[in-house]
């Protein structure tokens, strides 16, 4: 197990380094420089040259990259030109908000999608199954920003029940009823898409396991229907969901970016969105590295838990 972890960690480092190279190149290849974005369209060529020199932007790309990596390994994620604040500081402010949004919506999605998938599998090809299949396909095919806009239209504008934008204050205020209610729509918008995805997987995973021979064995022992469903079918059906969770992390983050932008929720997604608009490269890079790390760690955890929940998977040295 340790050998496996060390090997996977090594691979993860390579992946993260690769991500920094690609993102770095991509940001530098964009037309229009940082200087234009910061100094405005009326800045003179002299001013721009001075800005580029001051910030090391006149060096060759590989030199710029080495400078950046050197900072990175010393824990310095760079400095935002636009916000005049360190990227690390920005992330420590915005990242927890995104984690809260993603965490709550993923938990809500699981809590709804798992029973939904179980119910659909048990009542397969009946009216309940068909209705839920239709509903989940509709939700799954809607772009996240569209779902967010519909929710705002219904619950914030027509019904006037919930605020149309996410909580704006610091996390410590989230327990306040007003701020908490502001979190409901963003969480719903993200969860609805994930519910659709997870419940489809859950349904097919349950169907796979319902026809297994050991389910028949359990019934022959005299285990009750609920016992068979929970102990024999559900416990085996949840195994692929562990992998799915790890794999869907980047997708969920992508959804969060859009959702945060629509709800003006000051998380990492909104930070990324605003930085992309203003070519704030250090922030873009910082966010990308954090997401790459989260994805790599998520997959590592999925592999690890896979081995924990499935006795057949024993990672050998």
């Amino acid at each position: 197990m340790t050998g496996f972890l060390v090997r996977r960690l090594g691979q993860s480092v390579i992946v993260v380094v690769g991500v920094t190279i690609i993102t770095f190149l991509l940001t530098r290849l964009l037309p229009g420089g940082v200087a234009r974005a910061i100094l405005g369209s009326r800045a003179s060529p002299v001013e721009i040259a001075q800005f580029n020199h001051d910030n090391g932007l006149d060096l060759a790309i590989w030199q710029q990259y080495l400078v950046y990596i050197n900072q990175l390994v010393h824990g310095n994620l760079g400095f935002s030109y636009r916000l005049n604040e360190s990227v690390a500081g920005l992330l420590s402010d915005h990242l927890p908000k995104t984690i809260i949004l993603l965490g709550i919506s993923t938990l809500v999605a699981l809590a709804i999608a798992v029973p939904l998938g179980v119910m659909q599998a048990v009542r397969r090809n009946k009216i309940e199954d068909y209705s839920l299949t239709t509903l989940t396909f509709v939700l799954y095919s809607m772009p996240p920003f569209w779902i967010a806009l519909i929710l705002i239209k219904w619950f914030a504008i027509n019904l006037n029940m919930l605020p149309p934008q996410g909580p704006q204050g610091p996390i410590s205020t989230y327990l306040d009823p007003v701020e908490a209610s502001a979190l409901v729509l963003p969480v719903m918008a993200l969860a609805l898409v994930t519910i659709a995805l997870f419940s489809r997987y859950m349904r097919s995973s349950m169907l796979d396991n319902l026809v297994q021979d050991y389910v028949r064995t359990a019934r022959a022992k005299g285990v009750s229907t609920a016992g068979v469903l929970y102990k024999h079918v559900l416990r085996n059906a949840l195994i692929p969901i562990v992998t799915l969770l790890g794999l869907s992390l980047p997708g969920i983050f992508g959804g969060a970016l859009i959702t945060e932008a629509v709800f003006n929720y000051p998380g990492m997604g909104l930070l990324f969105w605003d930085s992309a608009q203003t070519r704030d490269y250090p922030v873009l890079l910082g966010v990308t590295i954090v997401v790459a790390l989260a994805t790599v760690v998520g997959n590592l955890l999925a592999d690890f838990f896979y081995a924990v929940v499935d006795p057949r998977v024993r990672i050998t040295e």
């Binding site: 021979d213 064995t217 359990a218 022959a220 005299g222």
Partner: protein
């Protein structure tokens, strides 16, 4: 009340009647089609099967693939709902039992499945698999259950230390032993063995067959032994019932049926058993074609399309089981 029914009641009261009675068992599976998934046809997997099994006896149920043997086994246990018919265990109806009565009945009738890989839950340890029956029926304390599991593992030739291991750590033969230990955990009166050795290597088959007969002696078990291999069935059975296309075509003592089969289908099955002597020359009855579709079985005698001695009468008149010797019945006009 007829004389026969009176006699049955007396037999049961004396505890000398058959342990398991299967009466006119029918199981038809719907074939669904069309937009609304309505039943457009029926697969007549089991089409009126009647037999008895006496206490301590082994009844071998043979037939080729698709003859309905496994469906009989599973329907008797109500693992699949019957279409009609009746099954009595010690005179108590299995099909009419309420859920709580059914749970009690399950203790008395257990099954060993064909596939030793798929029939054990991969996420449960061997101890949990064997002990779960005891747990759901509330037998003993946790410590007593553990002791029972250890004892069962040793009875089937494994060790008590294997309790904590998982099914994938065992070979096919060992897994089938676990399946047997699991079936025995609730001290059943009858064990239905549904092709218990078909998935195993030939060298392992005889070990498992010997284990099954040792257990029968030690635990006073009654077996319904389902298999397609005539040689295996002959070795373990007291009586043999031959099935073809959802119906029983011949029943009799194992030795008699194997030496002198009466039904042409039984003759064909027995002539297909290989003999370990290259000099023996015997008459081989080779059947033409495949088993017909159970959706639309042939009229009259189901076997007539492949029968070497079929006549016009067989297409019109369905042969019923009739006595053809001491304790023997066969369903053929010409037996």
């Amino acid at each position: 009340m007829s004389q026969q029914q009176l006699a049955d009641i007396k037999e049961r009261a004396a505890g000398t009647g058959p342990l398991l009675e299967v009466r006119d068992l029918v199981k038809h599976f719907p074939v669904r089609g069309g937009l609304l998934q309505r039943a457009v046809a029926w697969v007549k997997a089991v089409d009126g099967v009647t037999f008895d099994i006496k206490r301590g006896e082994t009844l071998g149920l043979v037939g080729e693939s698709g003859s309905g043997k496994s469906t009989v086994a599973r329907t008797i246990l109500r693992l699949i709902p019957p279409t009609s018919g009746e099954v009595l265990l010690e005179g108590k109806s299995v099909f009419k039992a309420s859920p709580s009565q059914m749970k009690k009945l399950r203790r008395d009738m257990q099954i060993i499945f064909q596939d030793p890989y798929g029939s054990l839950n991969p996420r449960m340890s061997v101890g949990e698999i064997i002990g779960e029956g005891l747990l759901v029926h509330g037998v003993g304390s946790p410590r007593e259950r553990e002791a029972t599991v250890d004892r069962l593992l040793e009875v089937v030739g494994l060790r008590g230390q294997h309790r904590g291991r998982f099914p994938h750590e065992f070979s096919g033969g060992q897994r089938q032993r676990i399946g047997i230990a699991r079936a025995l955990a609730l001290t059943p009166k009858i064990v239905i063995a549904d092709e218990p050795v078909s998935a195993l290597d030939v060298s392992i088959q005889s070990q498992i067959l010997n284990l099954l007969s040792d257990l029968q002696r030690d635990f006073n078990l009654t077996y319904l032994f389902v298999a397609h291999n005539m040689a295996v069935v002959e070795q373990v059975s007291d009586r043999i019932a031959v099935m073809y296309l959802g119906k029983i075509v011949e029943v009799g003592p194992a030795e008699d049926v194997c030496k002198d089969p009466k039904h042409p289908y039984a003759k064909a099955l027995i002539s297909a058993v290989p003999v370990a002597d290259p000099d023996v020359r015997r008459e081989r009855v080779v059947l033409k074609g495949d088993i017909p579709s159970p959706i639309n079985p042939p009229s009259g005698c189901h076997f007539r399309t492949r029968c070497p001695i079929a006549t016009d009468r067989c297409a019109v008149e369905e042969p019923l089981l009739r006595p053809v010797g001491k304790d023997r019945v066969a369903a053929c006009h010409y037996a």
